[in-house]
């Protein structure tokens, strides 16, 4: 008879949390670790079938309220590939600018509300604000800049309305963007200060032999395009993605799990993967900060230091956004005209929390026939389980609530999509 204990007392007697951690022990050693995700399925890949392709960026945005732009960007690039549309350099730059907004917003949120409180021993960013008002208020201001950029360019911060297949519904006016410049100048300096603060947090000693995967582009830090590069030494075209990486459906989760096809091994996507693989393409201010000021060593294999990678990326996006904002001139057409035709296309972009892959097939009437969407969190899930398995033996002697807390912290390094990112873990020990 396995002994199964549920440790966490839930707030409402019959309410389960968003996730649970099942740990199976045999003779005191860990045999298996499963991260359960209870996210109710919403069937996006099915409900997209038969929809007009023009709606795809609006619909896929609703997969995730913290990174809607990532879904919008990946879907429009994949559909443009299917339709044979080439976008102009102006549209391309504006899309990078939109992504800058989302990265600032999402990274600032994660750093200040979800992650830094873990290192400093607070239950939330709000509680941390009482003792660290400067840092939290600065963080809120940075986050607000990200949202303002999304609002000007996209119409609103969550589920922007201005992203279209072929470009934008409307290009912004010059003064709309120019008005943001003073805030972004302040933000660039504030982001540098923030990252110096983050570099001084107390980091647990924990490293793993990760395989890290990110987009890589020869001339720029990866957002919207590039090849898929791995620290294992290979680089492939995005069109080969599905041959190298496969999705599995495991019984304990409603989220699919990705793995390397050949080795069945896990891999790591996200800011730390990007900084490890693309450090030399960070903006000058971010590079200077990494090289001379905080002395950030790469390859970095400590997942807790993802928070520093996130900081460096915030500096990068401020600097890149500023240069786009300063050079911006309105242009025509905001959207490349296209005609419907049957076709298939895929694309990968970098969401704040890691690589995201989309593939679509459309028919001659402009309707979606097939959709495949691989979000960053499902790619990291297997890696998270693997980390927990390696980490648990060192903390097993702690009381159960402490074990849960420490495991949650490890999971938060990955900034998983919010519903499974936060404070959720229920432990089930299965002792045999």
């Amino acid at each position: 008879m396995p002994e199964t204990r549920t440790i966490r007392v839930e707030a409402l007697s019959r309410v389960e949390g968003e996730g649970a951690l099942n740990i199976r022990l045999r003779d005191g050693t860990i045999e298996n670790v499963q991260l359960n995700i209870y996210e109710p399925p919403r069937f996006f890949e099915a409900l997209l079938r038969g929809r007009p392709l023009e709606e795809v960026p609006d619909i896929t945005a609703r997969i995730c309220g913290i990174c809607p732009v990532a879904y919008q960007m990946s879907s429009v690039h994949a559909l443009e590939a299917a339709l044979g549309i080439g976008i102009s350099p102006e549209i391309r730059r504006l899309r990078r600018l939109l992504y800058c907004g989302e990265w600032i917003e999402s990274h600032a949120l994660h750093i200040h509300f979800l992650h830094a409180p873990d290192f400093l021993g607070y239950e939330s960013g709000i509680a941390m604000a009482a003792d660290h008002p400067l840092e939290v208020r600065r963080g809120l201001r940075l986050k607000k800049h990200g949202n303002q950029l999304l609002e000007v360019l996209g119409g609103r911060a969550i589920h922007p309305v201005n992203v279209a297949v072929g470009g934008f519904y409307r290009a912004p006016r010059r003064e709309e963007l120019a008005a943001l410049i003073p805030d972004f100048e302040w933000g660039l300096e504030a982001a540098v200060d923030m990252t110096r603060w983050l570099a001084g947090l107390p980091f647990p000693e924990f490293t793993r032999p990760y395989e890290m995967v990110a987009l890589s582009h020869p001339d720029e830090y990866p957002f919207n395009e590039g090849d898929v590069a791995s620290t294992a030494g290979y680089t492939i075209r995005v069109s080969e993605y599905e041959r190298r990486f496969e999705e599995l459906h495991v019984s304990h989760s409603t989220a699919l799990q990705s793995q390397r096809t050949e080795t069945a091994g896990c891999y790591f996507v996200g800011p730390l993967a990007r900084v490890n693989l693309c450090r030399d393409r960070l903006s000058p201010a971010a590079r200077r900060l990494a090289d001379d000021i905080i002395g950030f060593e790469t390859p970095c294999l400590n997942p807790y230091k993802s928070i520093i990678a996130r900081g460096l990326e915030v500096v990068h996006v401020y600097e890149e956004a500023l240069s786009i904002l300063r050079d911006y001139r309105p242009f025509q057409p905001a959207r490349i005209a296209f005609t419907h035709r049957a076709g298939e296309g895929c694309a990968a972009t970098e969401a704040p929390r890691g690589l995201i892959y989309h593939r679509y097939r459309v028919n001659a009437e402009g309707l979606v026939e097939f959709a495949k969407i691989v979000p960053p969190t499902s790619q990291n899930q297997k890696q998270i389980e693997d980390d927990l398995k390696a980490y648990l033996p060192s903390i097993m002697a702690e009381p159960d609530n402490r074990v849960a807390e420490l495991c949650e912290r490890l999971v938060r390094n990955y900034d998983p999509c919010i519903s499974c990112s936060t404070h959720f873990l229920k432990l089930h020990w299965d002792r045999r």
Binding site: L12, R42, L109, V161, N162, L248, S419
Partner: protein
């Protein structure tokens, strides 16, 4: 001591965008956090205070047998239950399954459909328990959310404007996109709250705040059909984030016939 209502935030099938709106009220977040006692908000804090709660914000729709149970428990524990967003008020985009065969959907997405427990429908919270107040939108507007919370703290009954998006376009001085460009726009039948952003970005409203009270969706649809839009184009326009709201649903079903 001033009254600090105990606030809880619950999530069902959703994208988290609506609860995230609360954290998006950056300038007022710390004030709001001071005015209420955030007793349960997994997205923002690991502090968990047991119920009962004065105010529950409920995001998401009901799509699993377990959630159909859980919402009853949330209702029992909450004095004032407010739904936030189109998922909670109308079933959300995931309610498209209500017109489809959910077992087919399962097969499309999951290699092992037998691992998944799900209902054949996605339904609004009000289909399961009484709801005290609804805040519309996909996503909700965080200014409205902060106003509503402020009203509750002050002991007032919250109110949100009940006019259509159309009126907001006039106020903004946006040229009517339906008249000027012939773009089918749901502004005349959609409730205000977004700030009429879509027409200001040169596109038609897609109804993400749901039907306005007494919306005459049929006459608007007839108007667009007479002006040359095919019913096949109007059906997906009505069937998106609020597609299962009764007024939009009835009309899309009529057009689909």
């Amino acid at each position: 001591m001033t009254y600090r209502p105990k606030l809880a935030v619950f999530k069902f099938a959703s994208c988290d965008g609506c609860q995230l709106s609360l954290l998006d009220a950056e300038d007022r977040l710390l004030d709001v956090a001071g005015a209420v006692d955030i007793a349960y908000f997994l997205e923002a804090t690991s502090r968990v205070v047991p119920g009962p709660y004065d105010v529950a914000l409920v995001e998401g729709s009901i799509t699993t047998p377990h959630d159909a149970e859980r919402i009853r428990e949330v209702r029992r524990q909450s004095k004032f239950l407010m739904t936030i967003g189109a998922c909670a008020t109308a079933g959300g985009i995931q309610a498209l399954r209500n017109w489809a065969d959910t077992s087919e959907y399962l097969k499309v997405v999951y290699a092992r459909p037998e691992y998944i427990r799900t209902l054949a429908t996605s339904t609004a919270i009000a289909d399961h328990v009484p709801v005290d107040f609804e805040l519309r939108g996909c996503p909700i507007n965080h200014h409205q959310l902060v106003e509503v919370i402020a009203a509750l703290v002050a002991g007032r009954r919250p109110r949100t404007p009940g006019h259509s998006v159309c009126l907001d376009c006039k106020r903004r001085g946006t040229v009517c996109i339906a008249v000027a460009k012939g773009t089918p726009c749901l502004g005349p039948v959609t409730q205000s709250g977004c700030g009429a952003i879509c027409p200001a970005y040169d596109r038609g409203c897609y109804g993400c705040y749901g039907p306005v009270g007494q919306a005459n969706v049929t006459s608007l649809a007839d108007h667009y059909v007479n002006a040359g839009t095919s019913p096949q184009q109007l059906v997906p326009l009505l069937r998106n984030f609020n597609g299962y709201a009764p007024e939009f649903r009835k009309e899309s079903e009529r057009l689909a016939r």
